[in-house]
């Protein structure tokens, strides 16, 4: 009896091993088929198509505001839809809401955990969500009364089994999308704290996510430590497309303003543009002199400029169509950890490990005003541009 049982178990195991090997070969052949299908449509490069487009020339970006007040590394920031307020979070557990025009702090909350790696502003401007090493995402409603203790009204929404790396409200205040170090993303209902949908597919920590820009859009993209960027359908929880061309962890992903493409920044010191309808990578933004990883990326309003915050304390601005760098911004004294363009595209804000946030915009140079300048000011501007161009060509 025992001999018969063990024999049937052995045959079962053999069958499982055979089908496992069969599935492995099938998956390998499907992967090569996928690569072939993608390569068939790769008839031209993006910068070749954009050859006839006018070049941008060199840009100058200037820091307009410096927001000082955090006691430790700034890890994340987000703009409010009113294009004026900013929420930022830092390593010491503080989440501060600033008025970027006046640099005043409007609200400050101390989280019970350190390393608040994610923060987001609600679309209505009435609440902020943040989370980090506490594995939770908490929503704080912002009240007009400045003396009120915000921490008392805190609402715990998401629960993960590892750190929270990114969070974002969907089109309303009612739902939050989170990504975590446990390799999953999840969609939560804010009111009840219930899990509406979970997204499994990453093989390692998920570090970033971004929602598709359209009003009716229900897809989002996430990037992780497994070097993959996945595009997900929010309703079904399915991964629709997957891109794996980066050579290291993907730190940041951002949709192109039209929603047809997205950019990603990674520890391999490159930013890459992936087109969703062509289903492949269409551009790489890199230079041999850039060896430090990208921590965050964002597009300008028209999508022509791609801003990248790097770990070598600089911000590089790339021409998306031509693939060349058009500007480099210095100023931070430690690595740039987060970068977001304002909702109306007039400025961009960067947060850094040097405890500050900087709001910058482009420095337009009008010829008429040069003529009316006094000689000393004109000379200092000439010297400024001389050193600036020296840095660009270095």
């Amino acid at each position: 009896m025992y001999w018969i049982c063990s024999k049937s178990m052995a045959t079962q195991e053999l069958q499982i091993n055979e089908s496992l090997a069969h599935l492995k070969t099938e998956s390998e052949s499907l992967k090569t088929k996928l690569e072939e299908e993608r390569a068939k449509l790769h008839d031209v490069e993006l910068h070749q198509v954009a050859e006839k487009v006018e070049g941008l020339g060199q840009f100058v970006m200037k820091t307009r505001r410096t927001l000082k007040g955090h006691g430790n590394k700034v890890l994340c920031m987000d703009w409010c839809k009113d294009k004026r307020r900013i929420v930022s979070s830092s390593q010491d557990g503080k989440v501060i809401v600033w008025d970027a025009f006046t640099t005043n702090k409007e609200h400050a909350v101390t989280m019970p955990c350190t390393w608040v790696m994610a923060c987001a502003y609600a679309p209505s401007g009435c609440a902020v969500a943040c989370g980090g090493l506490d594995n939770k995402c908490s929503v704080y409603p912002l009240s007009l009364d400045k003396n009120e203790n915000l921490a008392a009204k805190k609402k715990s929404v998401a629960m993960h089994t590892n750190y929270l790396s990114a969070c974002s409200f969907t089109n309303s205040d009612m739902q939050i999308l989170t990504s975590s170090g446990d390799g999953t993303c999840a969609l939560w209902d804010v009111e009840s704290g219930q899990l509406l949908q979970s997204f499994h597919g990453h093989a390692a920590d998920v570090l970033c996510l971004d929602l598709a820009p359209s009003e009716t859009g229900n897809t989002f993209v996430s990037g992780g430590c497994d070097k993959k960027a996945n595009v997900w359908d929010m309703r079904s929880g399915q991964c629709i497309q997957s891109f794996e061309t980066h050579e290291s962890d993907i730190n940041s992903v951002r949709y192109y303003p039209s929603g047809d493409a997205f950019a990603s920044g990674s520890d391999d010191a490159t930013c890459r543009l992936y087109d969703l309808r062509a289903d492949r990578e269409v551009a790489i933004y890199s230079k041999e002199s850039i060896i430090f990883g990208v921590s965050s990326v964002d597009f300008s309003l028209s999508g022509r400029l791609l801003f990248g915050g790097y770990n070598d304390y600089t911000i590089n601005v790339w021409d998306v169509l031509k693939g060349t760098r058009v500007s480099i911004l210095f100023g931070h004294e430690n690595r740039v950890s987060t970068l977001r363009v304002s909702p109306d595209g007039t400025a961009f804000c960067t947060g850094s490990w040097d405890h500050t946030l900087r709001v910058s915009s482009s420095f337009s140079f009008s010829l008429f005003s040069v003529i009316s300048l006094s000689p000393e000011v004109l000379l200092t501007h000439c010297v400024f541009f001389f050193f600036f161009f020296l840095q660009i060509w270095a």
Partner: protein
């Protein structure tokens, strides 16, 4: 590489780091993640493989367009909206909300 003399203790998300310089993505963390991934793939059972094959079939069946067409449409979007892009063309100095109020006539 960070070397640990004892295994880190996970207490509510805190983890011990060398010299108090706590980087969340420490080398150790990455090492442990990669170890978990390799053990998982070597023990992959039937259901995981089946899911992977199903996922690959789904991805292979996606409708694709040529890169030339996609690139042209990206370029078109850029050029159409270039006029509204304040970071690209700049704004008249009076209306830039972030400009510091100064008496200097530059910009």
């Amino acid at each position: 590489k960070i070397i640990y003399t004892h295994a880190p203790v996970h207490k509510e998300g805190r983890h011990w780091c060398k010299k108090g310089h706590c980087r969340v993505k420490t080398e150790y963390n990455i090492y442990i993640k990669r170890l978990t991934v390799t053990t998982m793939t070597s023990n992959s059972n039937l259901s995981t493989m089946r899911r992977l094959v199903e996922q690959l079939k789904l991805e292979a069946s996606v409708e694709r367009i040529k890169v030339s067409q996609a690139a042209t449409e990206l370029q078109q979007y850029c050029l159409q909206n270039a006029g509204k892009d304040a970071l690209l063309v700049g704004v008249p100095t009076g209306s830039n909300p972030f400009r510091e109020p100064r008496s200097c006539a530059v910009v």
